[in-house]
Symmetry: C2
Subunit: 789 residues, 2 copies
Amino acid sequence: QPWGRYWDRWLMMALSGMAVGLVGFFLHFVIHILSATKYHVTRWLLAHTHVVIGWMFNISFSLALVYASTWLVINVAPEAAGAGVAEITAYLNGCFMPKILNVKTFAVKFLSAATAVGSGLPVGPEGPMIHMGAAVGAGISQGHSTTLGIDTGLFRHFQNPKDKRDFATAGAAMGVAVAFSAPIGGLLFVLEEIASFWQQSLGWQIFFACMMAVLTADTLRSAQAALGEGQFGLFDKESSTVFFEVQTQLTNHVLMVLPAAAIGIICGLCAILFTILNLKVVRARAEFFRGKPAKWRMAEPCLLIIIFVTLGMILPLFFPCTPTQCVIIQGETKPLCPDLGPSEVIERIVEQSTELYTCSRTARDSEVPPEWDPDGGGTEHGITGNITVPRSYNELATLMSVTGEDAIRHLFSRGTHVEFGYSALLIMLVFYFLGAAWTAGSAISSGVFVPMLLIGACIGRLVGLVGVTIAAARGLGSHGAPAGVFLPPSPWAWIDPGAFALIGAGAFMGGVTRMTLALAVIIMEMSNDVRILLPTMVAIMLAKFVADSASHSLYHGLLEVKCVPFLPKEPASLMSLDLVDVRYAMHAPVVTLREQMRLGDVRDVLRKTRHNGFPVVRDTPQGGVCVGLVVRDHLMKLLVEAVKRGTCQHLEVPFTELNRQFVDASALESEAAQQMAVLEGRPLTPSHFPNDPTLWDETLDLTAYINTSAIRVPESYTLERAYILFSTMGLRHLVVVDEHNRVRGMVTRKDLLGYRLDEAVKRARVGAVPQTLGVTGSGGGISLESPRT
Amino acid sequence: QPWGRYWDRWLMMALSGMAVGLVGFFLHFVIHILSATKYHVTRWLLAHTHVVIGWMFNISFSLALVYASTWLVINVAPEAAGAGVAEITAYLNGCFMPKILNVKTFAVKFLSAATAVGSGLPVGPEGPMIHMGAAVGAGISQGHSTTLGIDTGLFRHFQNPKDKRDFATAGAAMGVAVAFSAPIGGLLFVLEEIASFWQQSLGWQIFFACMMAVLTADTLRSAQAALGEGQFGLFDKESSTVFFEVQTQLTNHVLMVLPAAAIGIICGLCAILFTILNLKVVRARAEFFRGKPAKWRMAEPCLLIIIFVTLGMILPLFFPCTPTQCVIIQGETKPLCPDLGPSEVIERIVEQSTELYTCSRTARDSEVPPEWDPDGGGTEHGITGNITVPRSYNELATLMSVTGEDAIRHLFSRGTHVEFGYSALLIMLVFYFLGAAWTAGSAISSGVFVPMLLIGACIGRLVGLVGVTIAAARGLGSHGAPAGVFLPPSPWAWIDPGAFALIGAGAFMGGVTRMTLALAVIIMEMSNDVRILLPTMVAIMLAKFVADSASHSLYHGLLEVKCVPFLPKEPASLMSLDLVDVRYAMHAPVVTLREQMRLGDVRDVLRKTRHNGFPVVRDTPQGGVCVGLVVRDHLMKLLVEAVKRGTCQHLEVPFTELNRQFVDASALESEAAQQMAVLEGRPLTPSHFPNDPTLWDETLDLTAYINTSAIRVPESYTLERAYILFSTMGLRHLVVVDEHNRVRGMVTRKDLLGYRLDEAVKRARVGAVPQTLGVTGSGGGISLESPRT
């Protein structure tokens, strides 16, 4: 029974789920405290003192946070910079990404993300959450950490690359699940974007893990609420588990797909622009900081936060006060207008959908229309203990002077057709677009999901506003409601800019990340609105189409900039690879080993080449036939072990030891140092006696360490199928043999990258096979091409 | 660019999506008309005439429909019997399932499902919809139908097994999407349950196809509404696109996972029982009807409908009239009770949540409490033109005398805590449980999804009722509400039997089908309630755990009963296959061919063996080395072609022709007859001259038809990895070679079935390798084991 065989794996998934839930809860908690402090104090200062004092507090508080954030990244763990999604993707794709999963990176990621998001930069915590989830999943499953000097000794059988990768995949899924409170979305995210190899049972385990993660986070939020005022465990409208829950379910309409299609196309175009801009900034930054001290990089986020905070306070000043509009609440068929409805309800709505940083709190109290202010000017700030008049608000401040998540909530709010005008939305869009593109990739730990949602929401709401304008111009407003407000009895009730903002958010993310399925589910899970699913799918699909026609996705683009050998799930070739033989893509000659070898020869091979996989051949009367593959890592460990013992006799290294990988950097370094010492013939430790020269003449028997299940294919194997083998089976090496099973060449991941494939196709056209002469054992005919394969 | 290479594939997906949407709409439309006729006329007769007349109409109408349904299946297309989900799963798994995708099966499936569901049997249209979707997807993409004598000549390059399978996969997904109005759920259904091999780009295409299918169905429903009374395109509460949309969003609570866990475990146990019962019925039926004329099988559905209709009318008579309870509607914080609320609203709720077949319409008018009936007896049936009094209802009739979908809606309705008592729910549960287990698999086209939802909903609602009883006994009811009714301000507002019914529905389906992800999404999409997602996931996961410990899923069980060589995604072995070499599972000796062969020898091989794949060897000084694989089907086509031409010279059959498969039965039959004729040396057609004996001495050059990309593995390859190759790469044959690339054996799907794997493990323990001597070419050493591999 699978359960009997794998119960410990399920247990481990539950443990990691709880851990990720815990991390996610605390990350949100810290961010909430920081940003609440920032905005509340700033608002209080704005209301009670001079604007400049407010600005000074705001900028110094934010700057301190950003400085802390970037200091940690630069000085403690440079691997924690950026979102980390691309890096995790590459790691799970099979690329070598040092240090990204160790404890130090995790801790810096947490603190840096919390401070960066809390400071008010246009960044979000979701990307780092994914990275942290993967680190937690990989770390817990390994049961030890050399950085912390802990080795529980438990779960040693998970200490192999495959299981570590599985748990890291699960961890990334849990990260998404907790970040968006979307357990299904998390699973689908890794399925669609991250995981290169998919197994049914792993899918179920991740499902379970995501469930546990979200359950833990929810329970903690419940407990927090219990400590505050509410009862333990109950989530009502105000403290829903659904992140951007819609309060009004729209009547949906088939025609809604038309504006959704428009949003999809526009978002696709903007996503291309965003991706290109982002990559250009990354390249320009690398160019600019090349050769300069690392500390210089700390200036960039600090400069950014100054610009961002200042503009965020100045730009709204150009906007007049807008009186509170009519709003529509769930279950009602009439709008609640300031001059009609019960003021109590209006007040609640105003509180919910426009934030407190409004005109009435700034110096512009007098602009509140007198007929709405029976007190005739009222108290100093338009606020009495018991508000009976609706307030006016500043359109742009409502979006800019709040956290990104709150701004998204405002944009998503429904029944608020004319709350934000064209100019406010356009300025917000441009401001955030440029800000996010610049900030992403600077020396802080920050994600780009919140900015993407916000940019998409602005685009969607703009399109919705166009719809409202057209419909209002044709006099289609609901009977009894102000012009441009549509309500359920009207057939135009589906024209709601808030709903289109949600569609736009999905579409823009689709255009940037090129996901479809996972995004549609995440949008559904975070809005609790299934009715809008179909238009969202249309918009996401179109955005993806449009964006696919122009560029890679942002993550793949970033990996390309960083020169990581990432293999997309489908070959990135212009040509059909069906008709190209694998012989045109393989590299040859290949360094091969024999089953029994002089230890010295093994050392020489390892010293002279940097290949990671070596075919092992057996001499037969018909020539050397391939019997399997040995990986460099295992050979190295055998070598170190032999040197430590001083003999090759009865050298038995258990498989778990061979496959063990260290999660953290220092252990890796000490291991690498040992290995270098062995290769260069230096003593392992100062106290270690110099190597016995006779040792190198002993024979090492590799038989037990050969992977006889390494796949070998004939030269005429098609390249297309070889690619599928790599991407579905998670291969790293493929041995190409001739009809007598003699090694002809090797294919590695690097040979399947886009430009290499195109070269192979060209070679296939002219029929130029890489020369396969000189296939030799132990040392001869070595070709040193790729430093890491 | 993928788009440039594959635009016609996307177009085809759009076309199939629209076609499946069309089919789904019409299926629902026909079912709606039939069942509306049945129930409305019966109700009218019950109200205006004697009960016996109502019963007679009901039974004769239903019987006629069931007779039509079973007649079609027995006499026209026996392949259309049952749900078809298991068959489609097996087909897409790589098994040979004749005739399931042809036009005749499709038409019978449609009519039989419509009449069977319309008749009121405990069956649903979802399973058949999946089968029809796959048939539409496969049929449209092939662009021709020999049954209908149509060959458009378009899309000839899709006429190969792989593309046909891809489109059938997409079709099945569209079927689910349309059946549940759940586009994402459809995609995930095939990902989790059906598709054996998953490609990223296929996933996106299916996403698109499901979107188009649901969009088409929605648009048609809009158009239908426009023809009726509403406006085109608008879906409001009454005509929502969400199937079982909840009208009240509950405040959710972390504690909700506890009853959800209970529901999960109970549903898991019931699902085991249901699966075993179902399989026992299938076996008993096969036993009973063996050797008897096919017409006898028509008696079974007819008997079933008589029992079902009669019990459905008699059982409710044992239930008293229940006065309408308080209900809770969305947006309100107080319950609407018959003696408090505005009668207009109450009436709407009563109409929605309890059906018209109530006490007040039967002979029990007098039981309406007098204080609720100001007219003092009122009109004949308690109904005046303008109803001002709430009515009473019969608990069991509300569930039994409506369609399955309406019963599910009643069970899912929220804020109706005490609407259904223990006895009504228990009787309904037992009645449907036995009825569904018996009906499934009888000679009608019918699905088991609606019964599963209903059974699960009954279980969930029973557990919820226990919760309500406990809470009410402790006096925890909301202030101002009747005992046992909980409302939003109360911390117990999450105890709602309707919500637990939804959880139960998901959990029971999870226990029977063993899906998790797809079910959670389908439940979310069909209820439009994301808040309940987490408890649903918990329940589904637990139900799956419980059920996995006892038996196979229903579909896999059915396939086992039918002896279909279905490969689950993970090996069904008790042992770890990591350490077992593939040599213990392969069969040997193997019949091999040579690149150039006498045509007569090819014929002899095909005549004497029934293998489907033959390794091709090339003679070298070191013995025969494997160069590839030729499949029986291609050899047959070459043979027929050679006989038709009378020579092997310049015999060139294009690849599209070789791979072409006929969708319908008659073409397959004529092809098979031709092939038999060739093998047996008979003339192809009466006018055809007898075969030239010299033809058989000619040499057939197979070089162009060898699949040189056939995967070959060494004998020491592990069985675990071989299994993964089969399931992820969709293999049918795997050639096992020795270190000199000489053929040692073959592995086929049948060798990887559960019991074969266990045998292989046993052989590995004693080290007994199948004898590999006698590997021969052309005719010698043939082993005739498996009729179809």
